[in-house]
Symmetry: C2
Subunit: 403 residues, 2 copies
């Protein structure tokens, strides 16, 4: 019997009625001839409420206790879903991360999965029952409860699908799939029916918040087909699969944007080996998550280095750059909080050299200045002013006929 | 270093402010020279809220999933308390029932503790840290989460105190101790500073809802001194200890009352061996929890059997009696929902034979009719009309100079 792993996010199990709707769908999926394993997130805003409560209690929050706290929400949703399934005559058994055998390292609040034992899940499936597993959590090699960080439930689902050899991993959410652009910005954006893992990775990395980057990487590495779909309409959504050489590749698949980062430029630094290493090691030591980095070609023995960081990390980034300014021989450190990134993504880009030129022409026609450029084989990103980015998305979506 | 187990009930950790107040007290206790292990209940009405949610989701509630659901509340309160302690510079480590090694049978929703391993608790105490343990829960021999039933956190605390050889088990609650009568009924009721386990058992069994019967039995059997006190005033409360032969025993310690039961009388049943057994086996088979049983002396070969049951079990009890009526040769089955029990408790009663007479005289002087009588060595209980019971409590409290 084919096996589906179904993951339901917080809005999908937001209240008692939603939990019953999910149970109905699980029962329907079984009637359609599938074995089902379910992964659930905490209901609605449960986890946010718990974090607020913790902030009321103490500013000191040992990570081990933080994980104990925020992992309790999934226990509630999974037990309720099992009850709803039992009410429909479907035998279901809930499992915490620990009971499911999800073994992680000891890096609390952002633990990495080291191993998935899954013996009890296999036994439960063999009995024809539905295992309902708490997403987002595991048990560490020190026997403590750990959590996998934001979006960790997606990772739980993909990991279980990989270990149990599931035929697909369905990610149920409150949108109907992955779109060619953010529908709030581009009204005629359309749902993509099928994209490659590489495209999904680029979309996730550049602003499409629908799937956690890490879970997509995990799915790609373990060849787990993903199906992103809505638990409100139950319509088929977007399949994320391995690239199929035989299929004609769209030149451009999606336009994404992201206004969560700021830009820092260090000008006039000495152009010699070790300078960039010194700067980015210092940023890493302060846990700054640097994203795009652009270094211009050296002129007169000096160069400018620009990079983007999450807006929350801007202040510490400026501090690090200023402190290193003399050592780097920099003439200035300039930052800009009012920037955004617009990206074109498409597996077919590799074989269509004209994409970059069309992108730049389109932005130029709108009078939008490009501040930084960065490319990969299947992506082109431009940093532009924040107040221009939505126009840029609309124009590019139209220019590449994505509507 | 002496060890105290401190148990905090739901109102004691009802909100962020209360959690911080508890942390302050734990820190103060350590400064006073004690090692401390804490057992917590779920915050305020958390467990009731979870049960309501479950009822919204499904009428079918598999006991295993029910336990998974309702055990989540303690995880929240214990993690928050550890954070509050960390904020005060006190190292604290939370443990679920499973992590604490509380092994139970598989009787979900009312599991019995089979064993307490407690290795991690001993390690934590040896490091000078405060273990904070989830009350009310354990892990079954089938590796599933179990709960110990209402009031189970008291049992958790007493069991841990016994296993770890604690010097005392402090039960913190929202009242200041055990009283000579319910202060809402008797304004001059006074707090008892010291009572015996046997007295506490009778008080718990006859209406004093302050401690769960089971936890007192456990404390008595394992010689764990209990200290029932308030987490709002932090004043010393009531010690529950082994009877001390040297101390003068009060004739009457407390007057309790309870209006939660109803009375059933089966009249004119044949007075021959096996009749009572037949009746009470049938009631037990329907899970009716029979409390007092009184059978009158046989007159003309027949007798009347009266018993009390929780009001919620009255309907099924009547049904069982009616069904057995012919077999028992009964002439009628009569029930009364408007009854209550008033009890006198005192270890000194054993050696003061006049107590019973004084009790009956006191009730007679108030014109209160006695419906049923039942006694133990340290208790006398009378069933009276519900609307007379508070007057009975007040008169008895005065008659035995308990004010």
């Amino acid at each position: 019997m084919p096996l589906l792993v179904q993951k339901y996010g917080g809005t999908s199990v937001g209240d008692a009625e939603r939990v019953r709707a999910v149970a109905d769908h699980v029962a329907r999926t079984r009637r359609d001839g599938y074995a089902v394993l379910v992964v659930v997130s905490a209901m609605g805003k449960t986890t946010d409420d718990l974090i607020r409560l913790a902030n009321e209690v103490s500013v000191t929050q040992p990570p081990r206790e933080y994980d104990m706290l925020v992992s309790s929400g999934e226990r509630i949703s999974m037990a309720l879903l099992c009850m709803a399934l039992a009410g429909l005559g479907v035998e279901a058994v809930s499992f915490t991360g620990s009971q499911a055998g999800i073994i992680t390292d000891t890096d609390h609040t952002r633990a990495k999965i080291l191993d998935v034992k899954g013996d009890r899940l296999r036994e439960t499936l063999a009995l024809g029952q539905v295992p309902v597993v708490a997403g987002f959590q595991g048990v560490s090699t020190d026997r403590d409860v750990t959590t996998l960080g934001r979006g960790g439930s997606d990772t739980t689902a993909v990991a279980l699908a990989a270990v149990l050899g599931a035929d697909a991993c369905e990610i149920y959410t409150d949108v109907t799939g992955v779109f060619s652009a953010d529908p709030r910005v581009v009204p005629d954006a359309h749902r993509l029916s099928k994209i490659s893992f590489d495209e999904m990775l680029e979309i996730a990395a550049t602003g499409g918040r629908i799937l956690q980057l890490r879970s997509v990487e995990f799915a790609r590495n373990h060849h787990v087909p993903l199906h992103v779909r809505s638990s409100f309409t139950w319509e088929p959504g977007t399949w994320v699969v391995e690239e199929d050489e035989s299929m004609e590749q769209a030149m451009v698949t999606a336009v994404t944007h992201d206004a969560s980062e700021a830009k820092v430029t260090v000008t006039g630094v000495a152009d010699r080996p070790g300078i960039a290493a010194r700067l980015f090691r210092a940023l890493a030591d302060r846990s700054v998550n640097v994203d795009m980095i652009v270094q211009n070609t050296s002129i007169h023995g000096t160069t400018d280095i620009s990079f983007t960081v999450p807006k929350v990390d801007l202040a510490v980034s400026e501090e690090v750059c200023q402190a290193l300014s003399d050592e780097l021989g920099a003439t200035s450190v300039v930052s800009d909080n009012e920037v955004a990134r617009v990206s074109l993504i498409g597996a077919g880009m590799k074989s269509h050299p004209g994409v970059t030129a069309t992108m730049f022409e389109t932005l130029a026609a709108d009078g939008i200045n490009i501040d930084m450029i960065s490319t990969s084989t299947i992506r082109i990103s431009c940093i532009v002013a924040t107040d221009k980015v939505e126009q840029a998305v609309r124009s590019l979506h139209a220019a590449f006929d994505l509507g």
